[in-house]
Symmetry: C2
Subunit: 311 residues, 2 copies
Protein backbone atom coordinates (compact mmCIF):
# COMPACT_ATOMS: atom_id res chain seq x y z
CA UNK A 1 0.00 0.00 0.00
CA UNK A 2 1.23 3.41 -0.88
CA UNK A 3 1.74 6.10 1.72
CA UNK A 4 0.24 9.11 0.07
CA UNK A 5 -1.54 12.23 1.11
CA UNK A 6 -4.92 11.32 -0.31
CA UNK A 7 -7.52 9.80 1.97
CA UNK A 8 -7.81 6.34 0.40
CA UNK A 9 -5.29 3.55 -0.09
CA UNK A 10 -3.64 2.75 -3.41
CA UNK A 11 -2.39 -0.84 -3.62
CA UNK A 12 0.35 -1.86 -6.05
CA UNK A 13 0.87 -5.36 -7.38
CA UNK A 14 -0.38 -8.61 -5.72
CA UNK A 15 -3.92 -7.61 -6.60
CA UNK A 16 -5.69 -10.80 -5.52
CA UNK A 17 -4.17 -10.66 -2.05
CA UNK A 18 -5.02 -6.97 -1.52
CA UNK A 19 -8.47 -7.21 -3.03
CA UNK A 20 -9.35 -10.32 -1.05
CA UNK A 21 -8.32 -8.59 2.17
CA UNK A 22 -10.29 -5.46 1.30
CA UNK A 23 -13.46 -7.36 0.45
CA UNK A 24 -13.21 -9.46 3.62
CA UNK A 25 -12.75 -6.44 5.85
CA UNK A 26 -15.77 -4.58 4.52
CA UNK A 27 -19.30 -5.90 4.52
CA UNK A 28 -20.92 -4.86 1.28
CA UNK A 29 -24.56 -5.77 0.75
CA UNK A 30 -23.82 -6.47 -2.90
CA UNK A 31 -20.80 -6.25 -5.22
CA UNK A 32 -21.25 -5.51 -8.92
CA UNK A 33 -18.46 -5.23 -11.50
CA UNK A 34 -18.47 -2.67 -14.30
CA UNK A 35 -16.39 -3.77 -17.28
CA UNK A 36 -16.19 -2.97 -20.94
CA UNK A 37 -16.16 -5.47 -23.80
CA UNK A 38 -12.34 -5.56 -23.69
CA UNK A 39 -11.73 -5.92 -19.99
CA UNK A 40 -14.51 -8.44 -19.51
CA UNK A 41 -12.68 -10.69 -21.97
CA UNK A 42 -9.06 -9.93 -21.08
CA UNK A 43 -8.96 -8.98 -17.40
CA UNK A 44 -12.05 -10.27 -15.63
CA UNK A 45 -11.33 -14.04 -16.07
CA UNK A 46 -8.00 -13.58 -14.28
CA UNK A 47 -9.59 -11.81 -11.34
CA UNK A 48 -12.48 -14.27 -11.13
CA UNK A 49 -10.09 -17.17 -10.99
CA UNK A 50 -8.20 -15.86 -8.01
CA UNK A 51 -10.97 -14.10 -6.07
CA UNK A 52 -14.11 -16.04 -5.16
CA UNK A 53 -16.20 -13.00 -4.39
CA UNK A 54 -15.47 -11.57 -7.81
CA UNK A 55 -16.34 -14.85 -9.52
CA UNK A 56 -19.86 -14.68 -8.08
CA UNK A 57 -20.60 -11.04 -8.86
CA UNK A 58 -23.17 -9.61 -11.20
CA UNK A 59 -21.56 -7.86 -14.15
CA UNK A 60 -22.43 -4.73 -16.08
CA UNK A 61 -20.66 -4.66 -19.43
CA UNK A 62 -20.53 -1.62 -21.70
CA UNK A 63 -18.97 -1.18 -25.13
CA UNK A 64 -15.25 -0.37 -25.07
CA UNK A 65 -14.19 3.07 -26.35
CA UNK A 66 -14.53 6.72 -25.34
CA UNK A 67 -17.85 6.99 -27.18
CA UNK A 68 -19.48 5.01 -24.33
CA UNK A 69 -18.71 7.74 -21.81
CA UNK A 70 -22.06 9.48 -22.13
CA UNK A 71 -25.20 10.01 -20.11
CA UNK A 72 -27.29 7.44 -22.03
CA UNK A 73 -24.85 4.65 -21.21
CA UNK A 74 -24.75 5.94 -17.63
CA UNK A 75 -28.54 5.73 -17.43
CA UNK A 76 -28.24 2.12 -18.56
CA UNK A 77 -25.67 1.48 -15.80
CA UNK A 78 -27.94 3.06 -13.16
CA UNK A 79 -30.86 0.90 -14.32
CA UNK A 80 -28.80 -2.27 -14.09
CA UNK A 81 -27.49 -1.26 -10.66
CA UNK A 82 -31.12 -1.04 -9.61
CA UNK A 83 -32.03 -4.32 -11.37
CA UNK A 84 -29.24 -5.97 -9.37
CA UNK A 85 -30.79 -4.57 -6.16
CA UNK A 86 -27.77 -2.49 -5.25
CA UNK A 87 -28.44 -0.32 -2.20
CA UNK A 88 -26.50 2.29 -0.24
CA UNK A 89 -24.23 -0.34 1.25
CA UNK A 90 -23.22 -1.89 -2.06
CA UNK A 91 -19.93 -1.63 -3.95
CA UNK A 92 -19.30 -0.94 -7.62
CA UNK A 93 -15.98 -2.31 -8.91
CA UNK A 94 -14.72 -0.37 -11.93
CA UNK A 95 -12.53 -2.74 -13.93
CA UNK A 96 -11.19 -0.98 -16.97
CA UNK A 97 -9.40 1.96 -18.49
CA UNK A 98 -10.04 5.65 -17.97
CA UNK A 99 -13.46 5.49 -19.61
CA UNK A 100 -14.72 2.78 -17.21
CA UNK A 101 -13.21 4.50 -14.15
CA UNK A 102 -14.68 7.88 -15.13
CA UNK A 103 -18.22 6.73 -15.92
CA UNK A 104 -18.26 4.10 -13.14
CA UNK A 105 -17.14 6.65 -10.56
CA UNK A 106 -19.84 9.04 -11.74
CA UNK A 107 -22.54 6.35 -11.78
CA UNK A 108 -21.64 5.15 -8.26
CA UNK A 109 -21.25 8.63 -6.77
CA UNK A 110 -24.75 9.63 -7.90
CA UNK A 111 -26.64 6.32 -7.46
CA UNK A 112 -28.82 6.83 -4.36
CA UNK A 113 -26.76 10.02 -3.83
CA UNK A 114 -23.53 8.07 -3.69
CA UNK A 115 -22.42 4.52 -2.93
CA UNK A 116 -18.95 3.01 -2.49
CA UNK A 117 -16.76 2.23 -5.49
CA UNK A 118 -13.22 1.05 -6.16
CA UNK A 119 -11.08 1.33 -9.27
CA UNK A 120 -9.05 -1.49 -10.79
CA UNK A 121 -7.40 0.38 -13.66
CA UNK A 122 -6.34 -1.84 -16.55
CA UNK A 123 -4.71 0.70 -18.86
CA UNK A 124 -1.55 2.67 -18.22
CA UNK A 125 -3.53 5.89 -18.60
CA UNK A 126 -6.01 4.84 -15.94
CA UNK A 127 -3.28 3.64 -13.58
CA UNK A 128 -1.35 6.92 -13.56
CA UNK A 129 -4.19 9.34 -14.16
CA UNK A 130 -7.92 8.55 -14.33
CA UNK A 131 -8.05 6.31 -11.25
CA UNK A 132 -6.28 8.84 -9.01
CA UNK A 133 -7.79 12.03 -7.68
CA UNK A 134 -11.53 11.58 -7.28
CA UNK A 135 -12.62 13.18 -10.54
CA UNK A 136 -15.52 11.33 -12.18
CA UNK A 137 -17.32 12.36 -15.34
CA UNK A 138 -19.19 11.68 -18.51
CA UNK A 139 -19.18 13.67 -21.74
CA UNK A 140 -22.05 15.91 -22.81
CA UNK A 141 -22.38 15.38 -26.55
CA UNK A 142 -18.84 16.08 -27.76
CA UNK A 143 -17.84 18.07 -24.68
CA UNK A 144 -15.37 16.08 -22.63
CA UNK A 145 -16.07 15.52 -18.92
CA UNK A 146 -18.73 18.23 -18.76
CA UNK A 147 -20.90 16.37 -16.26
CA UNK A 148 -19.34 14.83 -13.20
CA UNK A 149 -18.57 14.76 -9.51
CA UNK A 150 -15.66 14.96 -7.13
CA UNK A 151 -15.97 11.71 -5.18
CA UNK A 152 -13.25 9.42 -3.98
CA UNK A 153 -13.02 5.67 -4.44
CA UNK A 154 -12.68 3.49 -1.33
CA UNK A 155 -9.41 2.20 -2.76
CA UNK A 156 -7.45 1.77 -6.00
CA UNK A 157 -5.77 -1.50 -6.98
CA UNK A 158 -2.98 -1.26 -9.55
CA UNK A 159 -1.85 -4.49 -11.18
CA UNK A 160 0.85 -4.02 -13.85
CA UNK A 161 0.08 -7.47 -15.30
CA UNK A 162 -3.02 -5.97 -16.92
CA UNK A 163 -0.70 -3.86 -19.09
CA UNK A 164 0.10 -7.06 -21.00
CA UNK A 165 -3.45 -6.99 -22.35
CA UNK A 166 -2.95 -3.54 -23.91
CA UNK A 167 -2.14 -2.78 -27.54
CA UNK A 168 1.08 -0.78 -27.88
CA UNK A 169 -0.85 2.27 -29.05
CA UNK A 170 -2.87 2.35 -25.78
CA UNK A 171 0.28 1.98 -23.74
CA UNK A 172 1.89 4.93 -25.53
CA UNK A 173 -1.25 6.98 -24.96
CA UNK A 174 -0.94 6.42 -21.22
CA UNK A 175 2.73 7.27 -21.35
CA UNK A 176 1.85 10.83 -22.42
CA UNK A 177 0.48 11.49 -18.91
CA UNK A 178 3.67 10.08 -17.36
CA UNK A 179 5.75 12.43 -19.51
CA UNK A 180 3.44 15.25 -18.45
CA UNK A 181 4.20 14.52 -14.80
CA UNK A 182 7.89 14.97 -15.61
CA UNK A 183 7.26 18.19 -17.53
CA UNK A 184 5.12 19.83 -14.87
CA UNK A 185 7.29 19.16 -11.85
CA UNK A 186 10.41 17.10 -12.22
CA UNK A 187 12.91 17.39 -15.09
CA UNK A 188 14.93 14.41 -13.81
CA UNK A 189 11.79 12.26 -13.82
CA UNK A 190 11.07 13.28 -17.42
CA UNK A 191 14.48 11.84 -18.37
CA UNK A 192 13.94 8.66 -16.29
CA UNK A 193 10.49 8.19 -17.80
CA UNK A 194 11.86 8.62 -21.35
CA UNK A 195 14.48 6.00 -20.55
CA UNK A 196 11.77 3.51 -19.52
CA UNK A 197 9.58 4.01 -22.58
CA UNK A 198 10.85 0.95 -24.43
CA UNK A 199 11.03 -1.34 -21.42
CA UNK A 200 8.65 -4.18 -20.58
CA UNK A 201 5.63 -3.88 -18.32
CA UNK A 202 7.35 -5.46 -15.31
CA UNK A 203 9.86 -2.61 -15.31
CA UNK A 204 7.00 -0.12 -15.28
CA UNK A 205 6.06 -0.53 -11.62
CA UNK A 206 8.48 2.09 -10.21
CA UNK A 207 7.45 4.55 -12.94
CA UNK A 208 3.77 4.01 -12.18
CA UNK A 209 4.38 4.45 -8.44
CA UNK A 210 6.31 7.64 -9.09
CA UNK A 211 3.63 9.10 -11.35
CA UNK A 212 0.87 8.15 -8.93
CA UNK A 213 2.89 9.82 -6.19
CA UNK A 214 3.22 13.06 -8.17
CA UNK A 215 -0.45 13.17 -9.05
CA UNK A 216 -1.56 12.25 -5.51
CA UNK A 217 0.57 14.98 -3.98
CA UNK A 218 -0.83 17.66 -6.27
CA UNK A 219 -4.42 16.45 -5.87
CA UNK A 220 -4.21 16.16 -2.07
CA UNK A 221 -3.31 19.84 -1.84
CA UNK A 222 -6.26 20.92 -3.96
CA UNK A 223 -8.94 18.23 -4.32
CA UNK A 224 -11.50 20.44 -6.07
CA UNK A 225 -9.11 22.20 -8.42
CA UNK A 226 -9.27 25.68 -6.92
CA UNK A 227 -5.70 26.39 -7.97
CA UNK A 228 -2.57 24.20 -7.86
CA UNK A 229 -4.34 21.15 -9.31
CA UNK A 230 -4.65 23.07 -12.57
CA UNK A 231 -0.97 22.21 -13.10
CA UNK A 232 -2.19 18.75 -14.05
CA UNK A 233 -4.14 20.30 -16.90
CA UNK A 234 -0.94 21.00 -18.83
CA UNK A 235 -1.64 20.01 -22.44
CA UNK A 236 -5.32 19.49 -21.70
CA UNK A 237 -6.96 22.76 -22.77
CA UNK A 238 -5.73 22.29 -26.32
CA UNK A 239 -5.59 18.48 -26.01
CA UNK A 240 -9.21 18.02 -24.94
CA UNK A 241 -10.40 20.23 -27.78
CA UNK A 242 -8.39 18.20 -30.29
CA UNK A 243 -9.65 14.96 -28.74
CA UNK A 244 -13.29 16.12 -28.96
CA UNK A 245 -12.76 17.32 -32.52
CA UNK A 246 -11.18 14.03 -33.55
CA UNK A 247 -13.89 12.01 -31.77
CA UNK A 248 -16.61 13.68 -33.80
CA UNK A 249 -14.74 13.84 -37.13
CA UNK A 250 -12.55 10.77 -37.50
CA UNK A 251 -13.43 7.14 -38.11
CA UNK A 252 -10.34 6.15 -36.10
CA UNK A 253 -10.10 8.99 -33.59
CA UNK A 254 -7.04 10.04 -31.60
CA UNK A 255 -6.58 8.42 -28.21
CA UNK A 256 -6.60 10.67 -25.14
CA UNK A 257 -2.81 10.59 -24.65
CA UNK A 258 -2.16 11.21 -28.33
CA UNK A 259 -4.29 14.35 -28.17
CA UNK A 260 -2.59 15.42 -24.94
CA UNK A 261 0.85 14.99 -26.54
CA UNK A 262 -0.23 17.41 -29.28
CA UNK A 263 -1.72 19.68 -26.62
CA UNK A 264 1.56 19.70 -24.69
CA UNK A 265 3.48 20.76 -27.79
CA UNK A 266 0.99 23.60 -28.43
CA UNK A 267 0.98 24.75 -24.81
CA UNK A 268 4.78 24.51 -24.55
CA UNK A 269 4.88 26.75 -27.63
CA UNK A 270 2.54 29.25 -25.94
CA UNK A 271 4.78 29.13 -22.89
CA UNK A 272 7.81 29.86 -25.10
CA UNK A 273 5.94 32.73 -26.75
CA UNK A 274 5.24 34.24 -23.32
CA UNK A 275 8.97 34.01 -22.54
CA UNK A 276 8.44 31.41 -19.84
CA UNK A 277 10.11 28.48 -21.59
CA UNK A 278 13.57 28.68 -23.24
CA UNK A 279 13.70 27.79 -26.94
CA UNK A 280 16.06 24.86 -26.37
CA UNK A 281 13.57 23.23 -24.01
CA UNK A 282 10.67 23.85 -26.37
CA UNK A 283 12.71 22.20 -29.09
CA UNK A 284 13.55 19.18 -26.95
CA UNK A 285 9.92 18.71 -25.81
CA UNK A 286 8.59 19.07 -29.35
CA UNK A 287 11.13 16.72 -30.92
CA UNK A 288 10.68 14.07 -28.23
CA UNK A 289 6.89 14.07 -28.45
CA UNK A 290 6.87 14.10 -32.25
CA UNK A 291 9.20 11.13 -32.12
CA UNK A 292 6.62 9.03 -30.26
CA UNK A 293 3.22 10.47 -31.08
CA UNK A 294 1.31 10.97 -34.34
CA UNK A 295 0.98 14.28 -36.15
CA UNK A 296 -2.61 15.47 -36.62
CA UNK A 297 -3.52 17.82 -39.45
CA UNK A 298 -6.13 20.60 -39.41
CA UNK A 299 -7.39 22.87 -42.13
CA UNK A 300 -7.98 26.58 -41.56
CA UNK A 301 -11.71 25.85 -41.78
CA UNK A 302 -11.44 23.83 -38.54
CA UNK A 303 -10.06 26.68 -36.41
CA UNK A 304 -13.43 28.07 -35.35
CA UNK A 305 -14.75 24.77 -34.10
CA UNK A 306 -11.49 24.03 -32.25
CA UNK A 307 -11.52 27.43 -30.56
CA UNK A 308 -15.16 26.85 -29.63
CA UNK A 309 -14.24 23.51 -28.05
CA UNK A 310 -11.39 25.09 -26.09
CA UNK A 311 -13.79 27.58 -24.53
CA UNK B 1 -31.23 35.64 7.98
CA UNK B 2 -31.79 32.59 10.07
CA UNK B 3 -29.26 31.41 12.59
CA UNK B 4 -29.12 27.71 11.97
CA UNK B 5 -26.59 24.95 12.20
CA UNK B 6 -26.27 24.35 8.51
CA UNK B 7 -23.42 25.97 6.61
CA UNK B 8 -25.43 28.29 4.36
CA UNK B 9 -27.78 31.17 5.09
CA UNK B 10 -31.56 30.91 4.84
CA UNK B 11 -33.25 34.28 4.31
CA UNK B 12 -36.89 34.85 5.20
CA UNK B 13 -39.11 37.51 3.66
CA UNK B 14 -37.90 40.75 1.96
CA UNK B 15 -36.57 38.65 -0.89
CA UNK B 16 -35.55 41.46 -3.23
CA UNK B 17 -33.43 43.12 -0.56
CA UNK B 18 -31.65 39.90 0.46
CA UNK B 19 -31.18 38.65 -3.07
CA UNK B 20 -29.87 41.99 -4.28
CA UNK B 21 -27.33 42.04 -1.46
CA UNK B 22 -26.28 38.45 -2.15
CA UNK B 23 -25.80 39.00 -5.89
CA UNK B 24 -23.83 42.21 -5.29
CA UNK B 25 -21.49 40.58 -2.80
CA UNK B 26 -20.59 37.68 -5.04
CA UNK B 27 -19.09 37.97 -8.49
CA UNK B 28 -20.67 35.32 -10.66
CA UNK B 29 -19.47 35.03 -14.26
CA UNK B 30 -23.03 34.33 -15.36
CA UNK B 31 -26.43 33.93 -13.70
CA UNK B 32 -29.09 31.65 -15.21
CA UNK B 33 -32.56 31.01 -13.81
CA UNK B 34 -34.24 27.63 -13.87
CA UNK B 35 -38.03 27.87 -13.78
CA UNK B 36 -40.95 25.70 -14.72
CA UNK B 37 -43.93 26.74 -16.85
CA UNK B 38 -45.83 27.78 -13.67
CA UNK B 39 -43.18 29.77 -11.87
CA UNK B 40 -41.96 31.50 -15.01
CA UNK B 41 -45.48 32.93 -15.37
CA UNK B 42 -46.43 33.49 -11.74
CA UNK B 43 -43.21 34.20 -9.83
CA UNK B 44 -40.49 35.32 -12.22
CA UNK B 45 -42.14 38.62 -13.33
CA UNK B 46 -42.26 39.75 -9.70
CA UNK B 47 -38.59 39.02 -9.13
CA UNK B 48 -37.53 40.56 -12.44
CA UNK B 49 -39.37 43.75 -11.59
CA UNK B 50 -37.54 44.27 -8.32
CA UNK B 51 -34.10 42.86 -9.13
CA UNK B 52 -32.21 44.18 -12.14
CA UNK B 53 -29.76 41.33 -12.34
CA UNK B 54 -32.60 38.85 -12.49
CA UNK B 55 -34.37 40.81 -15.21
CA UNK B 56 -31.34 40.40 -17.48
CA UNK B 57 -30.72 36.70 -16.91
CA UNK B 58 -30.96 33.87 -19.36
CA UNK B 59 -33.79 31.50 -18.48
CA UNK B 60 -34.18 27.74 -18.68
CA UNK B 61 -37.83 26.74 -18.52
CA UNK B 62 -39.02 23.16 -18.03
CA UNK B 63 -42.55 21.73 -17.91
CA UNK B 64 -44.20 21.95 -14.49
CA UNK B 65 -44.95 18.66 -12.72
CA UNK B 66 -43.07 15.78 -11.12
CA UNK B 67 -42.82 13.99 -14.46
CA UNK B 68 -40.12 16.50 -15.51
CA UNK B 69 -37.78 15.33 -12.76
CA UNK B 70 -35.90 12.86 -14.93
CA UNK B 71 -32.50 12.46 -16.51
CA UNK B 72 -33.62 13.42 -20.03
CA UNK B 73 -34.88 16.79 -18.84
CA UNK B 74 -31.69 17.15 -16.82
CA UNK B 75 -29.61 16.51 -19.95
CA UNK B 76 -31.57 19.30 -21.63
CA UNK B 77 -30.78 21.61 -18.69
CA UNK B 78 -27.05 20.75 -18.87
CA UNK B 79 -27.03 21.47 -22.62
CA UNK B 80 -28.68 24.85 -22.12
CA UNK B 81 -26.27 25.68 -19.30
CA UNK B 82 -23.49 25.04 -21.78
CA UNK B 83 -25.26 26.98 -24.55
CA UNK B 84 -25.46 29.93 -22.15
CA UNK B 85 -21.68 29.63 -21.59
CA UNK B 86 -21.98 28.91 -17.90
CA UNK B 87 -18.61 28.08 -16.37
CA UNK B 88 -17.35 27.06 -12.95
CA UNK B 89 -17.91 30.53 -11.57
CA UNK B 90 -21.54 30.78 -12.66
CA UNK B 91 -24.72 30.59 -10.60
CA UNK B 92 -27.90 28.63 -11.23
CA UNK B 93 -31.00 30.10 -9.55
CA UNK B 94 -33.66 27.47 -8.91
CA UNK B 95 -37.00 29.26 -8.87
CA UNK B 96 -39.78 26.79 -8.23
CA UNK B 97 -41.21 24.02 -6.13
CA UNK B 98 -39.56 20.83 -4.96
CA UNK B 99 -39.20 19.47 -8.48
CA UNK B 100 -37.25 22.53 -9.70
CA UNK B 101 -35.07 22.64 -6.54
CA UNK B 102 -34.30 18.92 -6.76
CA UNK B 103 -33.42 18.75 -10.46
CA UNK B 104 -31.75 22.18 -10.48
CA UNK B 105 -29.58 21.27 -7.50
CA UNK B 106 -28.59 18.02 -9.21
CA UNK B 107 -27.90 19.74 -12.55
CA UNK B 108 -25.74 22.44 -10.92
CA UNK B 109 -23.88 20.08 -8.59
CA UNK B 110 -22.77 17.89 -11.51
CA UNK B 111 -22.24 20.54 -14.24
CA UNK B 112 -18.45 20.84 -14.60
CA UNK B 113 -18.30 18.74 -11.40
CA UNK B 114 -20.30 21.28 -9.48
CA UNK B 115 -21.11 25.00 -9.72
CA UNK B 116 -22.91 27.34 -7.32
CA UNK B 117 -26.68 27.34 -7.00
CA UNK B 118 -29.33 28.95 -4.84
CA UNK B 119 -32.92 27.95 -4.17
CA UNK B 120 -35.90 30.30 -4.25
CA UNK B 121 -38.64 27.87 -3.26
CA UNK B 122 -42.11 28.90 -4.42
CA UNK B 123 -44.23 26.11 -2.93
CA UNK B 124 -44.84 25.41 0.73
CA UNK B 125 -43.36 21.94 0.28
CA UNK B 126 -40.15 23.35 -1.17
CA UNK B 127 -39.91 26.04 1.51
CA UNK B 128 -40.06 23.65 4.45
CA UNK B 129 -38.51 20.58 2.87
CA UNK B 130 -36.95 20.29 -0.60
CA UNK B 131 -34.89 23.49 -0.43
CA UNK B 132 -33.33 22.62 2.93
CA UNK B 133 -30.70 19.99 3.53
CA UNK B 134 -28.55 19.63 0.42
CA UNK B 135 -30.29 16.64 -1.12
CA UNK B 136 -30.62 16.88 -4.88
CA UNK B 137 -32.03 14.25 -7.19
CA UNK B 138 -33.85 13.10 -10.26
CA UNK B 139 -36.04 10.02 -10.68
CA UNK B 140 -34.91 6.93 -12.56
CA UNK B 141 -37.94 5.77 -14.52
CA UNK B 142 -40.59 5.51 -11.79
CA UNK B 143 -38.08 5.27 -8.94
CA UNK B 144 -38.14 8.46 -6.91
CA UNK B 145 -34.86 10.31 -6.27
CA UNK B 146 -32.71 7.33 -7.30
CA UNK B 147 -29.99 9.48 -8.86
CA UNK B 148 -28.65 12.45 -6.98
CA UNK B 149 -26.02 14.22 -4.95
CA UNK B 150 -25.50 15.72 -1.54
CA UNK B 151 -24.53 19.31 -2.36
CA UNK B 152 -25.49 22.47 -0.58
CA UNK B 153 -26.89 25.65 -2.10
CA UNK B 154 -25.04 28.91 -1.51
CA UNK B 155 -28.20 30.26 0.11
CA UNK B 156 -31.97 29.79 0.28
CA UNK B 157 -34.44 32.67 -0.07
CA UNK B 158 -37.92 32.08 1.33
CA UNK B 159 -40.63 34.52 0.31
CA UNK B 160 -44.10 33.67 1.67
CA UNK B 161 -45.75 35.92 -0.93
CA UNK B 162 -45.12 33.18 -3.51
CA UNK B 163 -47.58 31.00 -1.59
CA UNK B 164 -50.36 33.21 -2.98
CA UNK B 165 -49.65 31.73 -6.41
CA UNK B 166 -50.33 28.18 -5.19
CA UNK B 167 -53.55 26.21 -5.64
CA UNK B 168 -54.98 25.07 -2.27
CA UNK B 169 -54.21 21.45 -3.08
CA UNK B 170 -50.48 22.24 -3.44
CA UNK B 171 -50.50 24.18 -0.19
CA UNK B 172 -52.05 21.22 1.65
CA UNK B 173 -49.49 18.90 0.12
CA UNK B 174 -46.71 21.01 1.61
CA UNK B 175 -48.48 21.11 4.93
CA UNK B 176 -48.04 17.33 5.23
CA UNK B 177 -44.29 17.85 5.77
CA UNK B 178 -44.99 20.50 8.41
CA UNK B 179 -47.25 18.06 10.25
CA UNK B 180 -44.51 15.45 9.91
CA UNK B 181 -42.06 17.78 11.68
CA UNK B 182 -44.50 17.96 14.57
CA UNK B 183 -44.98 14.18 14.64
CA UNK B 184 -41.30 13.30 14.58
CA UNK B 185 -40.08 15.68 17.25
CA UNK B 186 -42.50 18.09 18.84
CA UNK B 187 -46.06 17.26 19.92
CA UNK B 188 -46.79 20.88 20.85
CA UNK B 189 -45.70 22.03 17.38
CA UNK B 190 -48.06 19.46 15.80
CA UNK B 191 -50.93 21.18 17.65
CA UNK B 192 -49.71 24.69 16.71
CA UNK B 193 -49.33 23.65 13.08
CA UNK B 194 -52.82 22.14 13.01
CA UNK B 195 -54.15 25.40 14.40
CA UNK B 196 -52.54 27.35 11.53
CA UNK B 197 -53.81 25.12 8.74
CA UNK B 198 -56.72 27.34 7.81
CA UNK B 199 -54.90 30.67 8.18
CA UNK B 200 -53.69 32.93 5.39
CA UNK B 201 -50.22 32.86 3.91
CA UNK B 202 -48.99 35.91 5.85
CA UNK B 203 -49.58 34.00 9.09
CA UNK B 204 -47.49 31.13 7.78
CA UNK B 205 -44.08 32.78 8.26
CA UNK B 206 -43.52 31.63 11.88
CA UNK B 207 -44.65 28.12 10.99
CA UNK B 208 -42.26 28.00 8.02
CA UNK B 209 -39.39 29.30 10.17
CA UNK B 210 -40.11 26.69 12.82
CA UNK B 211 -40.26 23.83 10.32
CA UNK B 212 -37.08 25.00 8.58
CA UNK B 213 -35.46 25.14 12.02
CA UNK B 214 -36.46 21.56 12.84
CA UNK B 215 -35.28 20.21 9.51
CA UNK B 216 -32.02 22.22 9.61
CA UNK B 217 -31.19 20.95 13.07
CA UNK B 218 -31.70 17.33 12.12
CA UNK B 219 -29.84 17.67 8.83
CA UNK B 220 -26.88 19.53 10.36
CA UNK B 221 -26.25 16.63 12.72
CA UNK B 222 -26.22 14.10 9.87
CA UNK B 223 -25.79 15.66 6.43
CA UNK B 224 -25.38 12.36 4.54
CA UNK B 225 -28.11 10.43 6.32
CA UNK B 226 -25.95 7.95 8.20
CA UNK B 227 -28.47 7.78 11.03
CA UNK B 228 -30.52 10.51 12.75
CA UNK B 229 -31.56 12.14 9.49
CA UNK B 230 -33.62 9.04 8.74
CA UNK B 231 -36.13 10.46 11.21
CA UNK B 232 -37.15 12.83 8.42
CA UNK B 233 -38.12 9.82 6.33
CA UNK B 234 -41.19 9.19 8.51
CA UNK B 235 -44.03 8.39 6.13
CA UNK B 236 -41.66 8.28 3.15
CA UNK B 237 -40.91 4.56 2.72
CA UNK B 238 -44.58 3.81 2.17
CA UNK B 239 -45.33 7.31 0.85
CA UNK B 240 -42.70 7.29 -1.92
CA UNK B 241 -43.90 3.88 -3.09
CA UNK B 242 -47.50 5.12 -3.26
CA UNK B 243 -46.37 8.31 -5.01
CA UNK B 244 -44.40 6.32 -7.62
CA UNK B 245 -47.32 3.93 -8.08
CA UNK B 246 -49.77 6.78 -8.54
CA UNK B 247 -47.41 8.63 -10.90
CA UNK B 248 -47.28 5.67 -13.26
CA UNK B 249 -50.95 4.62 -12.94
CA UNK B 250 -53.14 7.70 -12.56
CA UNK B 251 -54.06 10.43 -14.99
CA UNK B 252 -54.22 12.86 -12.08
CA UNK B 253 -51.59 11.46 -9.73
CA UNK B 254 -51.27 12.10 -5.99
CA UNK B 255 -49.10 15.02 -4.95
CA UNK B 256 -46.01 14.31 -2.84
CA UNK B 257 -47.55 15.48 0.45
CA UNK B 258 -50.77 13.58 -0.21
CA UNK B 259 -48.79 10.38 -0.63
CA UNK B 260 -46.73 11.20 2.48
CA UNK B 261 -49.91 11.73 4.52
CA UNK B 262 -51.03 8.22 3.55
CA UNK B 263 -47.52 6.95 4.28
CA UNK B 264 -47.60 8.53 7.75
CA UNK B 265 -50.87 6.78 8.56
CA UNK B 266 -49.43 3.43 7.42
CA UNK B 267 -46.16 3.90 9.29
CA UNK B 268 -47.94 5.13 12.43
CA UNK B 269 -50.00 1.93 12.24
CA UNK B 270 -46.79 -0.16 12.00
CA UNK B 271 -45.46 1.75 14.98
CA UNK B 272 -48.65 0.95 16.91
CA UNK B 273 -48.36 -2.73 15.92
CA UNK B 274 -44.81 -2.80 17.29
CA UNK B 275 -46.11 -1.36 20.55
CA UNK B 276 -44.26 1.88 20.12
CA UNK B 277 -47.28 4.15 19.61
CA UNK B 278 -50.36 4.15 21.90
CA UNK B 279 -53.68 3.44 20.18
CA UNK B 280 -55.15 6.82 21.15
CA UNK B 281 -52.31 8.63 19.35
CA UNK B 282 -52.63 6.40 16.31
CA UNK B 283 -56.33 7.22 16.25
CA UNK B 284 -55.73 10.96 16.53
CA UNK B 285 -53.05 10.97 13.81
CA UNK B 286 -55.19 8.88 11.47
CA UNK B 287 -58.37 10.91 11.99
CA UNK B 288 -56.56 14.24 11.59
CA UNK B 289 -54.80 13.23 8.38
CA UNK B 290 -57.91 11.63 6.90
CA UNK B 291 -59.72 14.86 7.65
CA UNK B 292 -57.40 16.84 5.39
CA UNK B 293 -55.95 14.41 2.85
CA UNK B 294 -57.56 12.17 0.21
CA UNK B 295 -58.07 8.43 0.59
CA UNK B 296 -56.34 6.33 -2.06
CA UNK B 297 -57.64 2.87 -2.96
CA UNK B 298 -55.60 -0.17 -3.96
CA UNK B 299 -56.63 -3.60 -5.13
CA UNK B 300 -54.97 -6.76 -3.88
CA UNK B 301 -53.41 -7.12 -7.33
CA UNK B 302 -51.35 -3.94 -6.68
CA UNK B 303 -49.62 -5.24 -3.54
CA UNK B 304 -46.69 -6.84 -5.33
CA UNK B 305 -45.77 -3.75 -7.30
CA UNK B 306 -46.12 -1.56 -4.18
CA UNK B 307 -43.87 -3.83 -2.15
CA UNK B 308 -41.38 -3.85 -5.03
CA UNK B 309 -41.36 -0.03 -5.02
CA UNK B 310 -40.81 0.07 -1.25
CA UNK B 311 -37.71 -2.09 -1.61
Amino acid sequence: MMKNNIPYPIYFDSISEHLNAFLSEREFSKIVILTDTNTSEKCLPNLSMSIDRIANCDIIEIDAGEASKNIDICTGIWSMMNDFHMDRHSLLVNLGGGMVCDIGGFAASTYMRGISFIHIPTSLLAMVDASIGGKNAVDLNSLKNMIGTFAEPEAVFIAPEFLDTLPERERLSGYAEILKHGLICDAAYWETALGHMGMGNKAMLPIIERSVGIKSRIVAGDPEEAGPRKLLNFGHTVGHAIESFSLSNDANPLLHGEAIAIGMICEAYLSFKKNKLPETQLHRITMTLLDHYPVYAFGEEDFDSLIGLMR
